[in-house]
Amino acid sequence: MNETEKKAIEGQAAPAAREQDAAQALISNTEEIAESKPAEAAAEAARPAAGEADDENKIFRKYKIKDIVFLAIMAACMLVTGAIMPLVGQIPVFGIIQVCLGLQFSIFPVIGMMKVRKPGALLFMSLCCGVVLVFMNAVMFVCILICAVIAEGLVLLIFRGYRKDGACLFAGTVYFPVTLPFLYLYYRFLYSWTGEEGQAVNAFIGSSAGMAVGMSIAVLAICFVGALIGVFIARELKKAGVMKK
């Protein structure tokens, strides 16, 4: 083999070797990526899970659209069943509104709280329900909002959130009976405008304080039963797999 032939062979072999090197580098790079990807993917998958776990442990969590929608639907249920409020509100018997509406105003909020389990759920339901109730009984709307804030505050203080079923039961039981003292203040305040102070208080509380106490106990009992029914329904739905988080 002469010099020129040798050069020609080398000239052909050099690009072939370069191509081989490049191919080898590509293979090794692909293998590296393939090796590192499962680790990265696992880390990626673990990151949101850790975030969710952290979020679960927080007391105040962000609301999602499905939470808002469910709470609004529960508020609509309260609204439909609470439509008799303007009618019974004019009957001069202390606590008649709470006795008539106590059951539905504890069942539906408890179901809402059992599904969403976030602070502010009760307040949100009260707000959505109150938008329409405000036309029927403006005073009751204000009372409901104040009482929702009080009930939420008590739950946060005692239970630190809605993680336990007991917290939802407690909030559902306390929520509506707390309106009683506010209504008392309202009747006193409103009638002092017309110059007939105390008349409404007498009419709504009755001549004996015993009746007011009896009605208050009845309201508390009704709301407790309602909240208990709400808890049972929510548990049943959870068991059936309908109450997903």
Partner: protein, 223 residues
């Protein structure tokens, strides 16, 4: 556009409803003045695009006020207590009228315009527009009860097992579907930017309505 066809600005409707109920309850014992004020409000609301709602509320008002008038007349022996009660119910029913005449979507738009949080406007829209749907669901569950021969709804056990549990289960399913539907339509919570498809604005007719309402209240107070 005539006054009859012009709809009230939603926030004006809310405030006027509040004003009617509060003022009506305060002056309910000034029998004639309150009745005249409420009658004036009825006509005024009918003139400003709430005529249909006024007519819908009227028969119910007549029945309820009639019943309570009879009860109070029977209990006290004088018509005054019954009349005051009828005035109170009049205030309650008239206060509902502006709200009934405002479409939920208009209310939502105007609340969005005043930068109400998106979660609140969505919640209100669903709560207000879900009521007819809920009635349909209740009818469907009761129909299912009848088909299965579940018995009377007044029995607590049957009410719980055959009515409440299926109804709430249905509501949970509807809420999941609705949430998905809302999300797929691009609705987002938080600080996501949004546009209002059709803006609501205060018109001259709203100002005239408010002035008329205030004038009626002043007249009733003077009377």
């Amino acid at each position: 556009m005539t006054l009859r066809n012009k709809k009230l600005y939603p926030l004006v409707a809310i405030l006027s409803g509040l004003f009617i109920i509060i003022f009506g309850l305060v002056i309910a014992k000034d029998l004639l003045a309150c009745s005249l004020f409420l009658a004036g409000c009825f006509v005024w609301l009918a003139l400003f695009g709430c005529g249909r709602s006024c007519l819908r509320a009227l028969p119910l008002y007549v029945v309820v006020a009639g019943i309570f008038f009879a009860i109070f007349y029977g209990a006290t022996g004088t018509p005054d207590a019954g009349w005051a009660m009828a005035n109170r119910f009049g205030a309650v029913f008239l206060a509902i009228v502006p709200g009934m005449s405002t479409a939920p979507v208009r209310m939502t738009r105007s609340l969005s315009q005043v930068h109400m949080p998106r979660s609140v406007t969505l919640g209100m829209l669903i709560a207000m527009s879900f009521v007819p749907m809920l009635k349909g669901e209740i009818a469907r569950v009761r129909e299912a009860m009848k088909t299965r021969g579940a018995g009377s709804i007044w029995s607590p056990k049957i009410l719980y097992r055959a009515f409440l549990v299926p109804l709430v289960m249905r509501l949970v399913n509807i809420s999941d579907t609705l949430a998905l539907s809302v999300e797929t339509r691009g609705f987002a919570l938080g600080k996501a930017r949004y546009t209002i498809y059709k803006k609501e604005s205060v018109a001259l007719s709203d100002a005239v309505f408010i002035i008329g309402l205030a004038a009626g209240a002043v007249l009733a107070a003077v009377l």
